[in-house]
């Protein structure tokens, strides 16, 4: 059977989650591989959440928030934007391809964009193959609850 990636999506409530809902209300079809966690703002997207997702077996993590300038809390997304490069370096250290993490801006009116982003990301992860952290022996970093 072909490899079906399992991806955790973390979406901000105001733009991206609403945008994802809009894709639904507009009955746009897209790859079912992304499972979504809703947070209030992309500013809440803590690196440990990403590491936790990988640790739990996610093959990829999609973060999405409002476009720069549109954050409902003014600048939460800017803070997240700044966290990503460092987080990607950590991923490399852990033997995880940095492409497995993606940060996108999707507004509340961009259902079609959400559809496109998901489809594209799923394809990217599919071509990267399963993460299989066991085999890569990830040292336990994110503290399990």
């Amino acid at each position: 059977m072909s490899f079906e990636p399992r991806i955790v999506g973390i979406l901000c409530n105001w733009c991206s989650y609403t945008g994802a809902d809009l894709a639904g209300t507009s009955r746009m079809k897209y790859a079912p591989n992304v499972r979504v966690v809703r947070v209030m703002c992309s500013g809440r997207m803590d690196p440990t959440l990403v590491l936790k997702a990988f640790q739990e077996g996610a093959d990829g993590v999609l973060l999405a928030g409002c476009h720069i300038g549109d954050c409902h809390y003014i600048s939460g997304n800017l803070k997240t934007l700044r966290r990503i490069p460092l987080l990607k370096r950590v991923l490399v250290e852990l033997g995880i391809e940095p492409e497995r993490l993606r940060l996108e801006w999707v507004s509340a009116s961009e259902g079609a964009r959400y559809q496109g982003v998901v489809n594209e990301f799923v394809e990217q992860i599919r071509s990267l193959g399963p993460l299989d952290l066991e085999a890569r022996r990830l040292p336990a970093t994110a503290s399990a609850s």
Partner: protein
């Protein structure tokens, strides 16, 4: 931690059950940790559906609830209320969105079912760790702000003020009125615009409950529903309006002129001016770009002639702060720049007019006292009106501007009325006459002899240009240099036609204002792909926004005519009133708080908060968060190196558990 979780999977008719195998999800849920009970229901949000959940909570002592149904943005509130009615804290509910992000976006039933199971597991794991929270209630400030004094904002302000609510109306221009103040007549009834608008404007100016701040702009907004703090900047008018008695001597005597914005540049106004005679407030402002004193010259004319001594060149911008409970944004639209369409010759040929220019040309109070004349003073024998200038056009605006067909008909009528001999051509793709009395108006105009040509005007040539480029085949008998040639295919004839006319009127698209982006940001109102402000729901919440307490009305939300703008103005006022009538609002207690024992005093969080809710206690060497100011975005939580900040209802533990659940299937 919850130990008896009830899971309810909704069919939503066929919306979910049509794709997701609901019984399979029920079975899977039964096997999830701490699930005590798992049921399906046709419409969980219905009264019997909610009743079932309430009964179960009581009968089985459930201590957390998962509803797998539509998006939490749809019905989280509904189910929270149900859960609360059964005596459970509403924050012990968790919604699994298996419709918008499940059944509706997945075609393959097996995959949709698998995804639904995972989403339910995420919600179940999360629910186990959710904690009861208290709602906070905040008092609503009994005052409102209306931004934009066009017809929509005027209506909203009057409705609010008439209900006894102190209302501040902020208008950028020196006078309220918006575009409507520029029109001579309004379709389809042909009422005189000034006759129906002026009384309303005056009412605004005199209303005891309205504080009119013209020539002003909102600088910043902070706070939240019920308690917005708004800073308003009033531009320096260089005239002390408390002294000015509106006599107008200054404007008569001022020797310096600039093109009148209100007359679309078709006439001149002075450096000290009111935009039009019926302006409200009817007090002049000095335009520093035109007044020579700002260029170092020594003119004193206005000072000399102003009897009450109101001229004040020392005046500075002033900033005022008001606190209001709700805000109505009614900032309107702008017409598209017709120069963007080179083939229509606007800006290249003097006799090609925009609609607004034509409104002024036709207005009894306009530059020609309402006489329709060419720039060189001739009475046009023929006029072409071109519909859809930049509307319904993917090169400019894909949407229909909704008013142009109708005002095109209005113009056709006015031309016919004033110049009986003139021929009027209207080039259209489709005539859209959807409103009350609109189709009847169309029929009337056909009866008045307007020539309708079905085919979008493709090209406009100046007469002289045309003669220079046309060959024998294109020769037009009697074409004069000052005329224009409109070229289109009459698609009903299947023939290319060229119509020589004396005047062309374009109908530039209604578009979002150039600064809509910035204004949207100030009020946290998002914009749609078309650039206009986005309502909370296109059908069910047309004047609400995703920012609680902020409403939108009029053409800032999308192209609309006066009746619709007024209706929205009233609707927004009604919404704002409804909010104020509640006296207090409950706000979710989903704020962040510092866990004292964990805080290391590193101060990393201090600069992160966009609302300045975090302060540092130097004595205790700890940060703390003011929960009244905190909006719960969680940015500080994610950045605290000691994990000492907790986002209530979005704790690390809860999100970790949700991820575990999502990945457990």
């Amino acid at each position: 931690m919850a130990s008896k979780i009830g899971v309810y999977v909704c069919h939503c008719g066929m919306n979910i059950a049509g794709t997701v195998d609901v019984p399979a999800v029920i079975e899977a849920a039964k096997a999830m940790p701490r699930v005590a009970l798992s049921k399906e229901y046709k419409f969980a949000c219905s009264d019997p559906g909610q009743e079932m959940i309430k009964q179960d909570i009581k009968a089985h002592g459930l201590d957390a609830i998962v509803v797998a149904a539509c998006s939490p943005l749809m019905h989280e509130k509904t189910f929270r209320r149900a859960v609360e009615a059964a005596g459970l804290n509403p924050f012990l509910l968790s919604i699994a969105n298996i419709r918008e992000q499940g059944s509706w976006v997945t075609e393959d039933p097996a995959k949709a079912t698998e995804k639904a199971k995972a989403i339910v597991a995420g919600a179940v794991f999360r629910a186990a760790r959710q904690e009861p929270l208290e709602m906070r209630s905040v008092e609503i400030h009994r005052a409102a702000l209306v931004v934009g004094g066009g017809i929509a904002g005027i209506q909203a302000a009057l409705d609010l003020a008439d209900s006894g609510i102190p209302t501040t109306l902020v208008e950028r221009q020196p006078s309220i009125g918006g575009y409507m103040a520029m029109f001579d007549k309004t379709f389809p009834t042909l009422d005189c615009s000034a006759c129906i608008l002026t009384p309303k404007m005056t009412a605004v100016g005199q209303h005891e409950n309205i504080k009119l701040m013209a020539y002003s702009e909102v600088e910043s907004v902070s706070g939240f529903v019920g308690n917005f703090q708004v800073r308003i900047r009033r531009k320096a008018a260089y005239v002390d309006h408390t002294k000015c008695n509106g006599c107008g001597m200054c404007m008569e005597k001022c020797p310096y002129k600039a093109p009148s914005e209100f007359d679309q540049g078709l006439s001149q106004r002075r450096a000290i001016y009111v935009p039009f005679a019926q302006a409200v407030p009817n007090k002049p402002v000095i335009d520093p770009a035109t007044c020579v004193r700002f260029k170092g010259k020594k003119c004193k004319t206005c000072i000399k002639f102003c009897e009450p001594g109101a001229i004040d060149f020392e005046q500075k911008d002033s900033v005022e702060e008001v606190t209001v409970g709700s805000i109505v944004v009614a900032t309107g639209f702008q017409p598209m720049d017709a120069k963007k369409i080179p083939q229509l010759a606007y800006g290249r040929h003097p006799e090609v007019y925009t609609a607004l220019e034509f409104e002024r040309l036709n207005n009894a109070a306009g530059p020609t006292q309402g006489k329709i004349l060419t720039k060189d003073g001739r009475v046009p024998q023929s006029v072409a009106i071109l519909n859809c200038t930049g509307s319904r056009d993917t090169n400019y605006h894909e949407y229909c501007s909704r008013v142009c067909c109708m005002y095109a008909l209005k113009y056709a009528h006015l031309i016919k009325e004033k110049l009986h001999e003139a021929t009027v051509f209207d080039f259209y793709i489709d005539m859209r006459c959807f409103g009350k009395g609109y189709e009847e108006f169309y029929r009337r105009l056909q009866d008045e002899g307007v020539r309708f040509i079905r085919g979008k005007a493709a090209q406009v040539f100046g007469g002289k240009e045309y003669k220079a480029i046309a060959n024998a085949a294109g020769f037009i008998d009697g074409l004069e240099d000052h005329q224009l040639v409109v070229q289109a295919e009459d698609s009903l004839l299947g023939k290319l036609i060229r119509v020589p006319v004396d005047m062309v009127v374009l109908t530039p698209a209604v578009e979002a204002r150039a600064d809509a982006d910035e204004v949207g940001r100030k009020f946290l109102v998002s914009r749609g792909a078309d650039g206009f402000f986005l309502e909370q729901h296109p059908k069910l919440a047309p004047v609400s926004t995703t920012n609680d307490g902020v409403y939108i009305a009029g053409a800032c939300q999308g192209p609309k005519d006066i009746p619709d703008s007024v209706a929205q103005g009233s609707a927004a006022a009604g919404k704002a009133l409804g909010l104020i009538a509640r006296r207090e609002v409950e706000v979710e207690g989903t704020t962040a708080s510092v866990v004292d024992e964990l805080c290391s005093g590193c101060k990393c969080c201090l600069t992160l908060c966009a609302y300045n809710a975090i302060s540092f206690d130097a004595d205790r060497h700890r940060s703390s968060i003011n929960e009244v100011l905190c909006k719960g975005c969680g940015t500080c939580v994610a950045s605290c190196p000691s994990s000492a900040i907790k986002a209530k209802h979005f704790t690390d533990e809860q999100i970790f558990a949700e991820i575990e659940g999502l990945m457990s299937m």
